[in-house]
């Protein structure tokens, strides 16, 4: 009995040792900043108290609550809408494309896959800049050049909330699809072909096969990547900021997500204590959103 307990303990120790490097890195780069931000949020660290800051308690949180006004509320709704729309389109597109790429006789699939990866191979700000000036620019952008060629009126694509939302979504999908496609494609390749063969013999069509074989098989494999993408989409900043709100290049749209809203209403003040309090509150909001979801349950035996 005692022997078994000992063995179990040793097993635990081995597990901890094997996981230690990874967990240590996460503790340093992911957990520590959160704790540190929380600490700073309790101080009055700002431009006027850069080195001689002191702990002032929850004052920053009291002030931060004023940021959560109607503007913040609509930014929050936008963010949820943004996440849902982007994830839905991404998943459906990636699934359909990956299925098509896995049709056996498609010889050039490697070439297609590589070309479709191109958006991912460029630094994000470069791609966003290309979209903003090359595509959406109202004077010179390709979109307006095509509109004019078709005899339609040129538009200011990024100037209203709705069209800016659509444009940002297009760019975000363009940026994010390669990754999702790669994950889905990899997952589909791990499915045993014989499942399909018997399904075809049973007369199942593509939709039925997808529903009853492909999706259940790939779900556990893609789940981590999908979950992480949901969070990335939720905290997406670059696409919306660089397309519509960059200093000196604002387009007139009032589209905000919670992060761009917090940036414009707090982070630019250089008041680290105050900004940290807002970061922590946003973080808690995110936690609340995901509270219902149980990642620990995935793959549990």
């Amino acid at each position: 009995m005692e022997d078994r307990l000992k063995r179990q303990r040793r097993g635990w120790l081995v597990s901890y040792l094997w996981s230690a490097p990874s967990l240590a890195l996460i503790a340093l780069i992911v957990v520590f900043p959160i704790l540190y931000t929380f600490f700073i949020s309790l101080t009055n660290m700002n431009v006027y108290h850069w080195f001689d800051y002191t702990v002032i308690g929850l004052d920053n949180y009291v002030r931060a609550l004023f940021v959560f006004d109607s503007g913040f509320l609509s930014a929050l709704i936008n963010t949820v809408l943004w996440t849902v729309v982007n994830m839905a389109i991404q998943l459906v597109l990636a699934f359909v494309l990956a299925s098509l790429l896995n049709i056996r006789k498609l010889r050039l699939r490697k070439l297609y896959k590589t070309l479709l990866m191109f958006p991912w191979a460029m630094p994000g700000y470069v791609s966003i800049l290309l979209w903003k000036t090359g595509m959406f620019n109202s004077e010179f952008g390709l979109l307006n050049q095509w509109m004019e060629a078709l005899g339609l009126e040129a538009r200011r694509w990024l100037s209203t909330d709705v069209s800016a939302f659509i444009c940002c979504t297009v760019v975000n999908i363009w940026l994010a699809l390669p990754f999702m496609l790669m994950i889905m494609d990899g997952a589909m390749q791990s499915i045993d072909r014989s499942y399909y063969e018997s399904a075809v013999l049973d007369g199942a069509n593509w939709l039925q096969r997808s529903w009853s074989i492909t999706i259940p098989c790939i779900r556990p494999i893609i789940a981590p990547a999908v979950i992480i993408t949901v969070f990335t989409t939720f905290k997406q900043f670059d696409v919306i900021y660089l397309l519509t709100q960059q200093m000196g290049a604002k387009t007139g749209s009032g589209l905000h997500t919670i992060l761009t809203y917090a940036y414009e209403n707090a982070f630019i003040t250089n008041n680290y204590g105050y900004s940290s309090a807002i970061s922590i509150i946003i973080f808690l909001l995110l936690l609340a959103f995901s509270a219902r979801w149980q990642p620990g349950g995935e793959g549990e035996k």
Binding site: Y112, G186, S290
Partner: protein
């Protein structure tokens, strides 16, 4: 029989046409950059654009390779990317294996919280990370960047590989253990080959992240000689007042090509070892 083959051929042709069209549509912004980079005039914008440059020249690519320290930046990027991928995998593979296969107190708790913690908006993290690295003397030091990059990607690496390990049947491992294989042997000889696609995907993801990351690279590293490609490119763009668009476009294309080559080459390793091994779960 012949009719069926004909129909299949037509379907395949249609599929190819579809993918060619899709690639073209996807690549429009990049073709745009390509055309700008091959054009003689100094403008990103032009009111009469065409995909075929009117004033064809390779001068801009020449300028990228002669005018900027692009080879130094390239070297820096390669070094950082290789080291980060190596450290990431070395740290994440054993951890992912433990979280997938072994049970120990705190396992569920850690798994549950990792993803949640990773959702912290990183805009203010930089300050904390700086405070962390400074006492260790790791600011303006490549090792500091490697730690930051590895840590940033650690949650993804761990989760992604753990998810895949979960789908590898335990029976094979148990058989190997019966034959007297140690833990290490089980992981390196059985689990890793079977989970190769997810290892490759994770490595690619880390590689591309490092390749494209510029915020930490420009803020933590000083001096053009220490820039990575993405950071160097960013500095080209940030000085838009004096910058040259065609050179910038040429540099953007140049930066992307190595990633594409690596992606193309890694594809054959992305198909699973599972079906190839003929094991059914």
């Amino acid at each position: 029989m012949r009719g069926r083959r004909l129909r299949e051929g037509a379907g395949l042709a249609l599929l190819n046409v579809f993918f060619i069209a899709l690639c073209f549509v996807t690549l429009i912004p990049i073709l745009y950059a390509l055309s700008v980079s091959l054009n003689g005039q100094n403008s990103l914008l032009s009111s009469d654009f065409s995909f075929i440059p009117k004033d064809f020249t390779l001068d801009n690519y020449l300028a990228v390779f002669t005018g900027e320290d692009i080879l130094t930046w390239f070297g820096n990027s390669i070094l950082l990317a290789a080291a980060t991928v190596a450290v990431s995998l070395a740290a994440a593979v054993p951890a992912a294996y433990c979280f997938s296969r072994r049970s120990f107190p705190g396992r569920r708790l850690v798994l549950r919280w990792l993803v949640l913690l990773n959702s912290f908006p990183a805009i203010l993290s930089m300050f904390a990370v700086y405070r962390l690295l400074r006492p260790m003397g790791l600011t303006n030091h490549r090792l500091g960047l490697i730690i930051v990059y590895t840590g940033t990607m650690a949650v993804f690496s761990l989760w992604n590989m753990k998810g895949y390990f979960d789908t590898v049947p335990v029976e094979i491992e148990e058989a190997a253990r019966m034959d007297g294989a140690t833990d290490l042997q089980v992981v390196t000889r059985i689990v890793l080959p079977l989970a190769k696609p997810s290892v490759v995907v994770t490595a690619l993801m880390v590689l591309i992240y490092v390749w494209n990351e510029y915020i930490y690279a420009t803020t933590f590293m000083t001096g053009e000689a220490n820039y990575t490609l993405a950071a160097g490119l960013y500095s080209l763009q940030a000085t838009e007042m004096s910058g040259s668009w065609p050179v910038f476009a040429a540099a953007s294309i140049t930066v992307s090509l190595p990633v594409l080559v690596i992606f193309f080459l890694s594809q054959k390793h992305m198909s699973s070892g599972l079906t190839a091994g003929g094991v059914k779960g």
